[in-house]
Amino acid sequence: MMIRIRFHGRGGHGIKTASRIAGTAASMEGFNVQDFPLYGAERRGAPLTAYTRISDGTIFERGIISSPDIVIIADDSLIEDPMADPLNGADTNTIIIINTNRPHDISEGLAARGRVFLIDATEISMSVIGKGSAISAAMGAAACRVTGLINKATVEKAVVKELTSIGISSEEIIRKNVEVAGTCFDSLPSFEIITRAETSQLLTKTIVLPYEAPAISTPNVIASGNIIERKTGKWRTFRPVINYDKCNHCWICFVWCPDGVISLDDKEFPHIDYDHCKGCLICYEECPIKAITVERESSSNEQ
């Protein structure tokens, strides 16, 4: 028996911790475990993945999981993010847990991709802690629950252990995280996992790499500024919105946007390039007359 869990989140969600909570809990239950995070170049806000394998035998696998039994998605905006591609390799047996506050938009169309279950962990965290900061505990607990192999008490112990190990010392914060974990655990059913052999993609074949002239094969980039093709707009959980009735075109938001995604038009009114705005909200914080407001991202304001 081997259960392969893949966690998707953004830098700052703590999905490495989530994968470790699942790993620690399974280990406490006596299983063999392997967990690891994969960091890219990306920082806070950018997609990243972590993996946990749980087995009753020796684990003869390493690295990324391409055919997951369980996919945990810490933020629904990842679903459409091509860099994250969280549903890749999932099939109809895969259990997919999505943290979302917009169940209607999400559930449509996803059913075919696996056994989808939605949970608003951010809301649960908000109601217990007042912030959406207990995502790692919530996602770790969700993963444990759906395996059907791990007790709630064990999950709670694992949350305490992992949060302590990343330097959280406040007993109150840990207690609240345990509470969030417990609530998430209880809100999900346990599934029967239909495990399979890890199948690597067999759709390709090996090739002999051709030699290419140095004008091609030198690791440099000649297309200057082409990074604009990468859309960092998906990083946002909140979006800044300019109220043009109020704005007095003072330039402040334009000057202080670190990523330079605010431009000024002829009349010096600022315009936000939502394809790239990372949602740091410096503009919101700095606008002297509060002409910028904040909205939580949802698919409805995506047009």
Partner: protein, 408 residues
């Protein structure tokens, strides 16, 4: 053409001067210093155009060299031993930039214990970096190899940096007659450098040495370097033909000395190969069919050429003037793996000799040959052996005593 009596260091400098090098960042280390002193003088005298600059370390020196080459200049630099290791991180970095600069390494054994005389652990530490390597035997070859190195490195089929190795003292400070060609002749051989793959011009912005993420991208760029390096064998041979036409001296990727009918071959590199050739002559006088193979182009490693030269022999002895501590001779292992898939192949013996510049006397060559003949007859091949004589051992024991080391 008249020959000048010059040292290996000055011969290297002459190669640089004749190649019309634009830029020389430098940092001193014995026994390389004479190269940079000579070049500095020539820049100051206006004999060379461009710039000589003393850097704050070899790490900085190789960075500046690579960056200048990435900008579009023809660049030279030189170091030795500790300096090469201090810059090692940067060697890999700039090889990845695909910049065709030339660097001379004057071999000197590595600390600790710190010493001044040569062996080849310094240069061989760079063997996996992407730099091409030629190891030289004479002062003439040093100068010629610098010119050939620019020609090969700048070839569009290659575009990788080049290291030329010469032994400290045995070449660096040794004077020999060297034929110095005219600039006109050199121009025929070596066209100016006008890069189209890597340069900095305001009108064509370029980001160089860009980070990659993911194995497939990294593998692509790394393996392209490997293929480019392998192309250098063919490019070397064309350059060597042209060189021969223009200057009348012919170099191969390996040098075969009295090998035509040889049953036994001793493999060596750099200046100690001269000692090996003398030994070969003496064995030949006695009627033993012995030859010497000198490794010249070391990166790319000419495995095919070496295999062709060795596979039908009875016995091969590799004298490594280097040691991979815990493994043995570096060249022995590389040559053995080249020969491995041959159905008919010689016995191969491994000797470590000349570490820290230790002499290899005729007695030791005799031992090498005897063991090789014996092994080829019995099929029993001894493990790696250090060449060391009884008198050296007696002397060593005395030194240990003076150092206060007592034995029970």
């Amino acid at each position: 053409m008249a020959k000048e009596l010059i040292t290996g260091n000055v011969a290297a400098a002459w190669g640089v001067r004749l190649a019309n090098v634009d830029y020389v960042p430098a940092f001193p280390i014995t026994p390389q210093t004479e190269i940079i002193e000579t070049l500095s003088q020539w820049f100051d005298d206006g004999i060379m155009n461009g710039k000589f600059v003393t850097m704050d370390s070899e790490h900085s020196m190789v960075t500046a060299a690579g960056a200048a080459s990435a900008t579009g200049a023809r660049v030279f630099t030189a170091t030795s031993s500790q300096g090469l290791l201090y810059a090692l991180e940067v060697l890999y970095t700039i090889a990845g930039w695909r910049v065709p600069l030339v660097m001379v390494n004057v071999s000197r054994a590595l600390a600790s214990p710190i010493t001044l005389e040569p062996d080849h652990n310094d240069i061989l530490s760079a063997r996996d970096s992407g730099f091409l390597q030629i190891h030289t035997e004479t002062c003439q070859e040093v100068m010629d190899s610098v010119l050939m190195a620019y020609r090969i490195a700048e070839d569009n089929k290659v575009l990788l940096p080049f290291l030329i190795n010469m032994d400290g003292y045995y070449l660096s400070f040794t004077r020999e007659p060297v034929e110095i060609p005219s600039r006109e002749k050199v121009k025929e051989f070596l066209p100016p450098y006008n890069p189209t793959h890597a340069f900095f011009h305001a009108s064509t912005p370029m980001s160089q040495g860009v980070a990659v993420l993911g194995g497939p991208t990294y593998s692509y760029f790394k393996y392209q370097m490997h293929m480019a390096s392998q192309n250098a064998i063919e490019v070397h041979n064309t350059a060597a033909d042209d060189f021969n036409l223009i200057f009348g001296r012919k170099y191969g990727v390996i040098e075969e000395y009295r090998m035509d009918d040889a049953d036994y071959v001793i493999v060596m590199s750099n200046t100690f190969a001269t000692k090996g050739k003398t030994a070969v002559d003496r064995f030949r006088d006695k009627g033993i069919k012995v030859g010497l193979l000198r490794l010249r182009l070391v990166r790319p490693f000419p495995g095919k050429e070496i295999t062709a030269a060795l596979k039908h022999r009875k016995g091969v002895a590799v004298i490594d003037q280097n040691i991979s501590v815990g493994s043995g001779g570096i060249f022995y292992n590389e040559i053995a793996s080249s020969l491995y898939n041959e159905t008919k192949r010689p016995v191969m013996l491994s000797f470590i000799g000349g570490l820290g510049g230790k002499d290899i006397s005729f007695i030791e060559f005799q031992k090498v040959l005897n063991d090789t003949i014996m092994a080829s007859e019995t099929g029993i091949v001894p493990a790696t052996q250090l060449l060391y004589t009884e008198s050296e051992w007696q002397q060593m024991k005395k030194l240990l005593e003076i150092a206060g080391k007592t034995r029970q």
